[in-house]
Amino acid sequence: MPSSSAYDISSLLEAFPHSVMILDESFQIVTMNRLMEAMTGYAARTVLGVHGELVVRSNTGNSRGQIYIEVIKTGEAVSVKGDILTYYRRKVPIQLTVSALKSAQGMIRGLMVVIEDISASENIKGAEVHNKQTAELIGYSPKMQKVFDMIPILGQTDASVLITGETGTGKDKVAEILHKKSGRARFPFVKINCGALPLDLLESELFGHTKGAFTGATRNKPGMFKLADKGTLFLTEIGDMPLPLQVKLLSVLDDRQFVPVGGEDKISVDVRIIAATHRSLRDQVRKGQFREDLYYRLHVLHLHIPPLREREGDVQYLLDHFLQKYAKALGKTIVGFAPNALQHVLNYSYPGNVRELSNIVEYAVNMCKKKKVNTEQLPPYLLENERNAPLSGSPEEQSSSDPQEEILPKVTPLDNGGRQNWEDIERQMIIDTLKQTRGNKTKASQVLGWGRMTLWRKMQKYEL
């Protein structure tokens, strides 16, 4: 590689957020950025012309430059996890990515080695506790606990996942977390709403098009499948996908290949599919609106996010969370809800689930000028609905003679004084359940949807 081009790219490399070095065709170091100097402990000027492997001393299977040779041979980038030993005798967990540097004529002229320090994520993995919450997903109810338990398992497989749940339950968030917890985490997470675009546009968005494929196609477009290569493609509102496209999607899932709109050559991709819908796909299949074969193809793993009305006790916790979040964002010092207002927000059924709850709290925080949110500062429709007809998301609740009783969380007794924190609620929940099961901890843990150890730990915590 000519030294002049190395000089040109040196400043470019400084803009990279990771450690980067450039090797020539014989794998000797041409240049490296400051982050690479910091990572390896060697100053760039001292190691120019040294074989890359001798400086980036990794255990990633690059002995005798095997990875470098593979990239030179195939032209395909290779990415592997491992660690490096630095000059300062530290072992640092890394993700090593080696890609080919090609000339304008397509000749491989060298390699780019990128090192990402993954020690932070590795530490988190080691200390991860799933009994509370995962990333930005919040909930303590037994049903959400089951979701949290499922997430790491689903994250580790490569099979398609179907996420179902009412609108506003957090399907998108769960999909993103699944991606982040998978081996594909460092590759793209691409989301597309299958219900938001007309058939032709959706096809072009998903599979891309070639120049001249249709009027206005003035250039080649890669499409979401190509953009998500090696990563995850999240198809939200899959139930609204037009039938003709469902055939093409099924074919991609089976063959991992597709032809862009107006194209001739097949493109191979390695993409994990996560699909989500608020509809019942089984009903859609029955009505002939969704292909049965695609349904079974997507339904390899299924995760159902419960609606908020079924998440006992989580409303209180989410109210606290969003109140703090919005109060902080708006620079207000709101400490909570006044008893009356709290009664209203706890009794509401939240057909729009967490999204609606978040919006209600945001409205209240905006309106509130005191330390506590009063009834007057809640959205008027909330009080209106409570006075008139109860809102509920499920037919079961609509048929209930007294929906408010159904909706009220079983174990959120309000003290007369005002707010209770979650610990009090959870403690009461355990006591109630133990009473029900006459002190049988095994049965109580089953009722609560926890493991026996979780129940035991919580009993210790609450000194029961």
Partner: protein, 117 residues
């Protein structure tokens, strides 16, 4: 009489102590080799096994590439003179040790194309 151990890879000092599968042992005294160096092929790479070998063989000097803090400290505690983070040809490194010139972290400038990694 001093005893030098160098984990090697091809013509180079092995980049990592814990991944080396070939080692070179050499006796020397006052800058002069005492006999031919021995090379030993290890069954599998292991920093623990190498440390044990250093102790059992009464090695006094070690040249290596990357080594982690724990094993470095252990060897220093065992009074081994460890010159780590050395990059370059092991022959050149050995020569420099014999002459008392090799320094920790030294990058040996022999960039001969004939060297095999």
């Amino acid at each position: 009489m001093r005893k030098l151990l160098v984990p090697i890879q091809g013509d180079y000092v092995a980049p990592r102590f814990d991944l080396a599968t070939e080692i070179l042992i050499l006796r020397f005294e006052k800058g002069t080799k005492d006999g031919d160096p021995r090379t030993i092929i290890l069954e599998r790479p292991s920093d623990e096994a190498l440390c044990q070998m250093v102790v059992e063989e009464h090695v006094t000097d070690l040249i290596c590439g990357g080594i982690d803090e724990v094993h470095y400290n252990f060897l220093v505690w065992k009074k081994v003179n460890v010159m780590d983070a050395v990059i370059g040809s092991w022959r050149q490194a050995v020569e420099k040790v014999l002459n008392g010139e090799l320094k920790q972290g030294e990058i040996l400038s022999d960039k001969s194309d004939n060297l095999r990694l």
